[in-house]
Every structure is written in structure tokens, then in C-alpha cells.
Symmetry: C2
Subunit: 209 residues, 2 copies
């Protein structure tokens, strides 16, 4: 009996996936699918098929689809934090670092829009489930807090509670990113990045001493 080759299946074989390899492969494949087809296009069957594995194999590593999405979101927060810190450090901190971090934020959201939506789609802090996700999200937040504390020491930022400041700044940039993703920021043909730059300048005024 001839078995036709399945169209999307990878070369990898099932017996390679031991010792947690499959778990990582599942998260990566899910993230890739989301990047191409959006969250709505993510099916557990499709993920399994793409990896040449049965569609139920993933239940050995994740409780359900939500848990897989939480892992994807957690991974997203990790690379997100790295992008933010990298931008801050490359610009040498300070006022320039702050703008660079803000632009890196918006760029990440625009470049990985579907992934970003999963990160902020209501999974985080979903009743304390998915502790790894909460940790990664908190880590990204702490990167911002650290930057603000440094800016306070320089005298560029008002000496309010750093976490309160960070919540405000995060919320404001998050809002810009979300509206940019939704395509609601191109009213007068200005590119989203210019809008982001203007917003960051206003945020800087908002937190000035």
C-alpha cells in the first residue's frame, strides 16, 4: 500500500522527539504558524502534522491548547525583553535610550503582531495559571522599571514611584502598539513609526520632573 507524502510535513521523524525536544519544537512551530496565519489559523492538528507527529502527541507536553499558547506567549515575552534591553543599551541609556526602547517596543509589536496579540490577549495572569508566563511578563516589565530608575538618577524623570511610572509608560506605549497593529494610526498618511515617535516624546513630557 502506497502512502502519499503529506504536503506540509517536515523531514524530522517522531523518534527524534524525546527528552523534551518535542515540547520546544511544538512551541516554535506554533509561533511560526501564528506569525503566518494568525492565532485563528493555529490548529493542534496542523502543528502535529507539520512536525510529522500525531495530532495528540502534544498532550504529553501541554494540558491543552491554552497551555501551548501560554508557552508561545512566554517565549514572546522573553525575546521582547531582550529586544528592549538591547535597544536601551545600544543607545547608551539616557534620553536616547528611552526613545530607542520605545521605538523597539512598537517595532516588535508591528513585526510580530500576531505573536504580540497572543502575549496581550488575556492569557497573562489568567488566575495565576502558567507561572512561567507570568515570570517572563514580569521580567519585561522589570526591564522598563530599571530604565526608569536609571533616568530618575540622571534627573530626567520625576521621582514618583518607579512602578507607578512604569505602569503608565508601559500602558501608553502598549496602546500605541495595539492601535498601530489594528491599523488605526494612519489617519493622515503618517507612517506608524512617526506616530510612535510623537507619542514617545509626549510620554517623556508626561514623566518629566
Amino acid at each position: 500500500m502506497v502512502r502519499s507524502r503529506l504536503p506540509k510535513a517536515r523531514r524530522k521523524r517522531a523518534d527524534r522527539y524525546h527528552h523534551g525536544d518535542l515540547r520546544r519544537a511544538l512551541v516554535e512551530e506554533a509561533a511560526r504558524t501564528i506569525g503566518v496565519d494568525g492565532v485563528a489559523g493555529l490548529t493542534l492538528r496542523g502543528v502535529g502534522h507539520a512536525l510529522g507527529v500525531s495530532r495528540t502527541a502534544l498532550y504529553r507536553h501541554f494540558e491543552d491548547k491554552s497551555a501551548l499558547l501560554a508557552a508561545v506567549a512566554g517565549e514572546g515575552f522573553r525575546t521582547f525583553r531582550l529586544a528592549l534591553v538591547d535597544a536601551w543599551e545600544r543607545a547608551g541609556g539616557g534620553a536616547r535610550g528611552f526613545e530607542a526602547m520605545g521605538l523597539a517596543y512598537v517595532r516588535f509589536a508591528l513585526t510580530h503582531s500576531s505573536h504580540y496579540r497572543v502575549m496581550f490577549g488575556g492569557l497573562v495572569d489568567a488566575g495565576g495559571k502558567y507561572p512561567e508566563l507570568s515570570t517572563e511578563a514580569a521580567g519585561a516589565f522589570e526591564a522598563l522599571v530599571g530604565a526608569l530608575v536609571s533616568l530618575q538618577a540622571e534627573g530626567i524623570v520625576r521621582r514618583d514611584d518607579p512602578r507607578a511610572l512604569a505602569q503608565f509608560v508601559w500602558a501608553a506605549v502598549h496602546g500605541v502598539a495595539m492601535l498601530a497593529i489594528d491599523g488605526q494610526l494612519q489617519h493622515q498618511e503618517r507612517p506608524a513609526e512617526d506616530v510612535a515617535r510623537y507619542a514617545i516624546e509626549r510620554i517623556r513630557a508626561a514623566i518629566a520632573p
Copy 2:
């Protein structure tokens, strides 16, 4: 043959739904379901069943599930705009009106969180589809622009392009609302409304002359 009464079905009969009545009933029922069970809990079959109508009846009024959700989002933007304008006018405009509008914004988002998520879940401006939704969303935006123009005339707000200002303010409050919905704003046991108040104060500083 005895027909057992279906559990969730309303009293209304199918023959009442003529001349567009069903369309409106479908939108209302979908909005109610979303409010109770979230977007994930919305099924076309459930909506039809709740109205005592076949599960395919809705295809006479909507192209597909997305179109129904767009109608729900549009309706959401309408009541949203009314809430914003009402808060602004009740406070008599000015600096107080601005704060009242901001608080009304966040309260609406927290009270109708699932509905709010549908409104900002990526349906608006989805390639120019759903013109009614775009119109309603634009209407809500214009309410904010109007308030800012009035504040500029009073000399409370800097004389930048009102639409650019409105985009920034909207984005910032939107971000606060989204993080509040996601439960990411209760770091130090402060209620979300206090965080919102602080954010609005900072936004006011950001757009000061």
C-alpha cells in the same frame, strides 16, 4: 409527538422576526453572550437557539460570524461614544471634563471587558470591510478630538494638531484600559481606578502647553 422544551430558548417566536427584527435581536443576543461567556463562548448555534430560531437563520442577515462580530463591535462603539460624551458634558468640560471622560473610558472597558476586546480585537479597519463599524469607531474618536479642541481654546492643551494629540491620548488611555482588563495593573494592591487616575494626570501633563 411530544417536543421537549429547549432549555435556553426564549419565548419569542420565529414569525416575529421579520423586517429586520431578527438582525437586531441577533446582535443583542451575541453581545449578551459575549458579556457572559466571552468571545470564545459565542457560537452561532447558541445564538440561534437562544432566540428560538434555526442556527442558520442568521445567514440571511450576516455574511458570516465575522460580520456578526463587526456589528457587535459597531454597537459597542456607539454606546462607548455616548458614555464618553455624557461624562464630558456632565462634568461641564474643561480639565474636569477631561478627567471624567478618561475615567468613563476605563470604566466602560472594565465593565464591558469582553465587548471591549471585540471592539479592539483587530476587526476595525480590517481592509475597509464593515464600513458601519469604521464609521462608529471614527465617531468615538471624533468625540475625543472635539474635547481636545475645546481644551485648546481654553489654553489648557498645547496647540499641536488635534488629531495627533487625540491619537496619543486615545492610545494612552486604551493601553491603561487593556492592561486593566488583563489584570496587569494591580501590582501594589492599588485598585485599577486609582491607576487610571494617575495615568490621566500624567496624560494631562503630556499634552499641557
